[in-house]
């Protein structure tokens, strides 16, 4: 989900930055103070996850884990993702600073969306259904993120779009891996520390 600097048009960059700021604001207002360590932990995991490469065909892909962020943080996934992407841009040169907003939106919107859907399922209390929802959130947010990235390139840089649909196969293995990973992580948390998933930031607004 790292579009490089200098690819997208300025209006799209501005729009992405604006949405990222709004999303961050919404997310930050919903973080209860006792949740801050959890947000930081997830942000750290996201930051490191992009370093985990695995080969797919002639190329290689890396973990995204936006689904896990959404499931664990809900709206707070937004600031967590922005921080992780900012540090990846500064430390590793992944993506870039001007394009940070767009990249963050492409990753965080699916994360929040999948997080909210997961939360709706989780509240029913059916263990198996919750795990299925976690898998769907893990895989779905990766694929949705890929779709948004594609859309951004289509909208913001039509001249670059020629092979945008050819990378099809690469998102899929990541989505499968993350679906399994997210379901496993949620299964573990349900057993060990169910309150970690209770996402009070979705219930109470501190606005």
């Amino acid at each position: 989900m790292h579009i490089a600097d200098g690819v997208l048009s300025t209006p799209l960059l501005a729009a992405g930055a604006a949405v990222a700021v709004i999303g961050c604001g919404l997310g930050l207002r919903r973080i209860a103070p006792e949740r801050i360590p959890q947000v930081a932990l997830v942000s750290s995991v996201l930051f490191v996850a992009a370093l985990v490469h695995f080969p797919v065909g002639p190329s290689s892909v890396h973990l995204v884990l936006s689904g896990l962020a959404g499931v664990m943080l809900g709206w707070a996934a937004f600031p967590a993702i922005v921080v992780a992407l900012l540090l990846q841009a500064v430390m590793f040169g992944f993506g870039g600073l001007t394009v940070l907003g767009v990249n963050a939106v492409n990753m965080a919107v699916p994360a929040v969306l999948c997080g909210l859907l997961f939360e709706a399922v989780r509240r029913r209390g059916n263990h198996r259904l919750t795990l299925v929802a976690a898998a769907a959130a893990g895989g779905g947010s990766v694929l949705l993120g890929a779709l948004l990235t594609t859309l951004s390139i289509r909208l913001g840089a039509p001249q670059f779009g020629d092979s945008v649909w050819l990378v099809v196969a690469t998102a899929l293995p990541v989505a499968v891996v993350e679906a399994v990973f997210t379901a496993a992580a949620v299964g573990l948390m349900l057993k060990v520390r169910p309150e970690a998933l209770e996402a009070p930031q979705l219930v109470f607004s501190h606005a």
Partner: protein, 209 residues
């Protein structure tokens, strides 16, 4: 019911999204000049060469000079006509763009440009410069000729070094990762401190940030 519907919606979404690209790794380009010939390759961070990828060569004023594509090994090569900076931009078409510059200083003088282009294609000629000339060389070599040959030979020899330096620069060091984690920890502490201050101001029941 509602949840089942949202799950079904997710499944449909998944199905639709199967036809989308992702990734999401950094595109890199390596290029070096040997004599008047610039060659290099495009690759992705963490593996894979960028095959059949668009390469655009521009001059310092941004005018496009050459457009080409990388081959099946991700490599490209072009001749330079003038002694100037060449900016090489590689675009994989999926949001990854990177560029590098071959500076004028790496290119030979224009007068010998054509000869060098010839010589670097035939490395044996370049090697001949290192070996002492045979007892009776037919035409005696002029100083610029020798300089050119030496330059070409050196460029050839240091190419692996340049590749190594490039790869070295790409490495993500443990201290980068630790630094990032430290920043996150610091931000979390800051957030906690700020919310704590607000809490004490607003009273113990006010909740957080």
């Amino acid at each position: 019911m509602h949840d089942r519907r949202s799950l079904a919606g997710l499944a449909v979404l998944l199905g639709l999204l199967i036809a989308t690209p992702a990734e999401a790794h950094k595109l890199k380009v390596f290029a070096t000049a040997e004599g008047g010939v610039v060659s290099g390759y495009a690759y992705f961070f963490g593996g894979g060469r960028a095959m059949e990828t668009r390469v655009t060569v521009t001059d310092p004023r941004g005018r496009t000079l050459i457009e080409l594509r990388t081959d099946a090994e991700g490599t490209f090569r072009f001749d330079t006509k003038q002694r100037q900076d060449y900016r090489i931009t590689v675009d994989s078409g999926d949001g990854h763009v990177t560029s590098t510059t071959i500076s004028a200083a790496d290119l030979p003088e224009p007068s010998v440009m054509a000869d060098v282009a010839d010589m670097t294609l035939r490395p044996k000629v370049a090697e001949a410069a290192v070996v002492p000339p045979p007892a009776e060389p037919e035409p005696p070599m002029t100083a610029p000729d020798v300089a050119t040959l030496v330059e070409a030979a050196i460029a050839h020899q240091i190419r692996p070094l340049r590749e190594q330096v490039d790869a070295w620069n790409d490495r993500i060091l443990v201290h980068d990762v630790l630094g990032g984690l430290g920043y996150i920890l610091g931000l979390a502490g800051l957030a906690y401190g700020l919310t704590a201050r607000r809490r004490t101001k607003a009273g113990p029941d006010a909740g957080g940030g």
